[in-house]
């Protein structure tokens, strides 16, 4: 069993594609029109083009709103992304206008921080203090 695809709910598919590519720096991998204006869109890291894909899932289902609102109210991130250096990434994204709900926090072996992805979610970034093998 392997993990090749995971997903985040997004308010607006086109805005989400722009944010996840232009701002975060992912690459569009699949963009399959499903008819009726819907598309099946995934992004990947340019560092791992054959790695796990992130599906941008439209947040239209009525259960998504209350579920995400409750998580965001408590500051709980919906997904975790790995970066080389949390402090550098926080600086880079803050310069791009991204809001952090949690500034870099030392949790022992790692640094973490949490930002608002402007698509309805909080996302955590994490970096190891020592380079991982």
């Amino acid at each position: 069993m392997r993990i090749r695809l995971t997903s985040v709910f997004v308010d607006d598919l086109q805005h989400a594609l722009e944010f996840y590519t232009d701002v975060l720096g992912f690459t569009e991998k699949h963009n399959i029109p499903l008819g009726g204006g819907a598309s099946w869109i995934t992004v990947v890291s340019p560092q791992e083009p054959d790695g796990a894909e992130l599906l941008l899932e439209p947040a239209g289902h009525p259960a998504v709103g209350p579920y995400r609102d409750a998580l965001v109210a408590d500051g709980i991130p919906l997904a975790q992304l790995t970066v080389d250096d949390v402090q550098q990434e926080v600086q880079r994204l803050t310069d791009r206008g991204v809001t952090f709900t949690q500034q870099p926090m030392d949790i022992g072996d790692h640094w973490v921080a949490v930002f608002d992805d402007t698509c309805g979610n909080l996302i955590q970034i994490v970096s190891a203090k020592q380079p991982q093998p």
């Binding site: 609102d69 965001v72 109210a73 408590d74 500051g75 709980i76 991130p77 809001t99 709900t101 949690q102 926090m105 030392d106 949790i107 022992g108 973490v112 949490v114 608002d116 909080l122």
Partner: protein
Amino acid sequence: MTGKQPLAYRQVVADVFRALDDETRRLILDELAAEDGRTLFDICTLLTMRHGIASTRQAISQHLAILEGAGLVTTQRRGRTKLHYFHPEPLAEITRRWPTPREGTH
């Protein structure tokens, strides 16, 4: 202060002492006193990483509700996120009632 206290005052003081009668809640106040404006998620992370407390988020949420009920924590929304702030004013009531002599003044 001397004599019989009004009922409302006694209730406030009772809530403050009850809120402080728990090590996890005292640690939450320590962390908020050091740096406040924190989310529930932040507070849970700090308690786990710095103090080895592995309570559930629901339990920490209940601790925060007790602290808020006693007036020791206030909350404020920033965007869609709820932030928690340290509010020490009820503690001043305790020192007003039982003043502690400062060094060299007694």
